[in-house]
Subunit: 577 residues, 2 copies
């Protein structure tokens, strides 16, 4: 037995297998997933696994390695999220999303940080050694909403598209803010004196990290699209480029301390339409299904590892600090959403309703990103307290909020997602209105979203498509593509129901045959065959001529008898001779 | 810049990217791949890369790590080979393949080993310190034909199916022999005295390693098939199980010192038909395309690494030893094929022709497996000589034989693969003949391949399918599946040509509507609506009754006037009342 040799891949495969089998297990009982979110069940499995490991080895089970999380588990999920991002609602609400993601996260960080510092001043709690800076560092990692947790819960409750994109978009884009604040406070912790310049440099970094991430992502996305122009002869490696380039964009961004999540989303959203047009249909199916599969497995592994890592002796228990962390997280998020939405609603016709506000505030789930960040903290004597607080906040949000959000959505009658895809008619009308509004904005000199969308579309069809698409002279509109897709689906359904008419194939067969016989006759000119052909042709011609008018209202079929037919054919033949 | 943090995944991604881009590059010039096999081009790219690294760093470039090769690069290729193995020709020729793989490889090992030992006795060559055992150890790794190299070359020359499966099957199954002989001689090298018992134990190991591999593979394959029975509700992770279980079978076999290649092939061939029936069509497309993509990338990486590893200072150059290795490899393989085929042809009706024999002997390419094994040799003072000889043999077979085999196949008019798939008619006839021959064998008491095939098929449909398939009560025969596939393809073609008739969908639509209105009328019984419906129904019924005979030869349409129609409707309505 040589276990050492295969240990690494063997254990990785076994973990993935465990995760997949756990997933199958839940779905065998249909009632379970409809009551408890999958993420809770997976954490529960992880807790049991961790307990078993702890019981057997009598030492803490291995915690989730932050490197593994950030380098291998997170990218597939974010790639999946970016690739399947509904771009229309995303760009329509980009202002609101950015406001929540940037201002909201900063609000939360400072709100939670200062409040916790206040709690630390209470003598009875024995927390006076936790400085303001450490509190802010902690709040910078605990404040950000987690995309993995949000996705896992919101995918199951099917709220309306706008609400979903507001929460989910915020959770994705706040990464840039988290990265900056976390690194800023961490470097402040190690500095002896903090100057005003450093604070301003931190503010400047926001823009560098966010916009830099977008630029890196778009660069790789465009390169990916350009590369797939040349894969026509080797379809087999087409899907690879989607994964390689997006992963490279993530790694490159991380390398330069930019936001990897923002980069991979920009890359995926940027390349999607061009790659889709360039690669074959089967390759695209492979890309889509593999991406979904991969992100699903990553997601499962993350939650199981979260559970496993919770067990053990990494925690320092301090009731007041932990309880107040949970309470402040809830309060500051609710306040932030209320205040920000008040401003958002003043400038928008399509307002965010109070029900939606409640769900946005309540859906602020924390997850594995906080957990990985807290383990990356520099060692100091209260690190274990922070780990304990983070664990409790994550478990509280995932279990309590995650399990109650579905009943609450039902109770409040929050607007749900429409189940059916938009019809072709609706799509045409939406596009028509887009053009109309772009025209109105153009005339009135107002540079609104429709104006910019129109300009971008023009730039795209004028320059980008020519460079990035293989067949740029025939850019099919999405409506034509949708029609083709519907036709194909319909055809498959017909074929599966056995109702497919073979009629269209027969004429072509017939014509092929006549062509062949024609050719032969030219070659040989056998008089017998020639006569035969002439007769066949004449009769067929006659029949076609006859059957044509026979269907009209004013002529009667069946009147002319076979004798008459023969006469007419004879007359026709004589004329042609 | 934080390169350290992302180094590992970044460099892996870059290598894969380089490999993929090199592949695209070759295919941009259509003439290049038709003359030079891709494997040669990739090795060439690797040589250039290695030269650049050597020139820049002034030290040998990193050689391909044997662990990386055996644990990560080889399995995808073997899985792909096993999953897409044409099972009919494989099982029809299994006897011949095993003879070539087992007896042929042993013949080559001892032939080459003893001849090289003879060369070592010549004083002028300064090789007297290389013992017989070292020569045998070297010949055990150089004798085996490499599946990766064979696949890369034979996929491009399209020889007939039997010839292809003979060479390719041998290259896959000889792994068991190579593993045993290599490990045997390696342990002999370290033993002070070799007893007769050890030799017999070595012979016994053949069966353990080979049959053990098959059993491990089949166990995991059946488990995989069983698992996919339960994935109906989570289609998204279905493809994963195909990869996970086959990889586990490989790793488990390696762990127990069995043949991993044999295990993964048994696993893939065992699970294929059940998994295909259980998982959805899109999942299956994902499995197929991803497998092809992955094996293609592995293949590319292996050849590039081969090139890179060639450059450097790992070689000890000894002209006679290296030249005689190449010559003996060629001679002993040719002799072995001739002798073995002589025996094979005596017992078979469908003989291996002399042209085929030449291609089998000439197609004995060596590749990355030898290369990885030679680096795994225990350190002794002539290891670098062995590395040099292995490198030369690989480069000679891949470049000289790989590049000349296509012209030779053309020149000798070797029978090519038929381009078209068998028609439904042919398939029915083949199956009919199978049953007939099974019956004849059964009556005559001859336990031939058809008898066993029939028994296996019976066992499969009686027991295995009931356990492993989700819908075991409707096992579709492959002809029905083929028909469905053709129908689906035809339907898609029709849809894409825009010739799809929408007729079949209209009646169902109509009937749906009437059902709805019927239901409504039952619920409300509004007299106005009821009247309206009656009128519509009556008119429609009338029209159907009228239009029916109107198309026949003896009645005339358009005679009855609207007034008369109204009269008839009135009469009908009265009657019904």
């Amino acid at each position: 037995l040589d276990y050492q040799h295969v240990q690494v891949p063997f254990e990785i495969t076994l973990w993935i297998m465990l995760a997949s089998l756990a997933k199958i297990g839940f779905h065998l009982y249909n009632k379970l997933p409809s009551v408890v979110p999958e993420s809770c069940l997976l954490i529960f499995v992880g807790l049991i696994m961790g307990g078993i490991i702890y019981g057997l080895n009598d030492k803490s089970p291995p915690v989730m390695d932050s490197d593994i999380f950030f380098l291998y588990l997170l990218p597939p999920i974010v790639l999946d999220a970016g690739y399947f991002m509904p771009s229309r609602p995303f760009f329509e609400n980009i202002g609101t999303i950015l406001l929540y993601a940037v201002v909201g996260t900063i609000w939360n960080v400072f709100g939670i940080g200062f409040s916790l510092y206040g709690i630390c001043q209470v003598r009875a709690f024995h927390l006076q050694d936790v400085s303001l800076l450490h509190n802010l560092l902690f709040s910078s990692l605990i404040a950000a909403v987690d995309p993995v947790a949000v996705l896992a819960v919101f995918e199951e409750i099917h709220v309306n598209e706008k609400l979903h994109i507001l929460v989910f978009g915020e959770s994705l884009l706040n990464d840039a803010v988290t990265v900056v604040l976390y690194k800023l406070f961490r470097s402040f912790c190690e500095m002896p004196v903090i100057k005003t310049v450093d604070v301003f440099a931190g503010v400047g970094k926001f823009f560098v990290v966010g916009i830099g991430g977008v630029l890196v992502g778009l660069t790789f996305g465009m390169t990916a699209a350009f590369t797939t122009r040349f894969t026509k002869d080797i379809r087999v490696i087409e899907p690879l480029f989607v994964f390689l380039y997006s992963y490279l964009s993530y790694l490159t961004a991380e390398m330069f301390h930019l936001s990897g999540i923002v980069a991979i989303i920009a890359c995926a959203m940027g390349m999607k339409r061009y790659v889709e047009a360039n690669i074959s249909l089967k390759s695209h199916t492979t890309v889509k299904y593999f991406m979904k599969m991969w992100s699903s497995v990553s997601d499962t592994l993350i939650f199981i590892f979260l559970g496993v890592s919770t067990i053990g002796e990494n925690h320092e228990w301090n009731w007041p600090y932990i309880c107040f962390t949970v309470i402040f997280c809830l309060i500051w998020r609710a306040l932030g959403v209320l205040v920000l939405t008040f401003f958002v609603n003043r400038f928008h016709v399509n307002t965010v309703t109070s029900k939606d506000q409640f769900i946005i505030a309540y859906g602020g789930l924390r997850g594995a990103i906080c957990f990985s960040l807290v383990f990356l903290l520099p060692d100091f004597h209260r690190k274990k307290l922070f780990i304990a607080a983070t664990t409790v906040v994550i478990l509280f949000t995932v279990f309590v909020q995650g399990m109650t959000i579905r009943p609450l959505v039902d109770l409040l009658h929050v607007k749900r997602k429409r189940e059916s895809a938009p019809t072709v008619g609706e799509q045409i009308h939406i596009r028509f209105l887009d053009h109309l509004l772009a025209g109105i904005e153009d005339i009135s000199g107002h540079w609104g979203q429709y104006y910019w969308k129109d300009k971008l579309e023009y730039f795209n069809s004028k320059y980008l498509q020519k460079i990035l698409l293989r067949e740029y002279d025939q850019p099919k509109s999405s409506i034509v593509l949708l029609y083709e897709k519907l036709e194909r689906k319909h055809a498959i359904e017909l074929a599966e129901a056995g109702q497919l008419g073979h009629a269209p194939s027969h004429p072509s067969l017939l014509s092929d045959r006549t062509v062949i016989t024609d050719k032969k006759s030219e070659d040989t000119l056998n008089p017998d065959i020639l006569e035969n052909i002439q007769e066949i042709l004449a009769r067929n011609l006659y029949r076609i001529r006859r059957t044509g008018p026979a269907y009209s209202r004013h002529t009667l079929p069946g009147e002319t008898e076979p004798v008459e037919q023969a006469k007419e054919i004879l007359i026709l033949q004589r004329r042609s001779l």
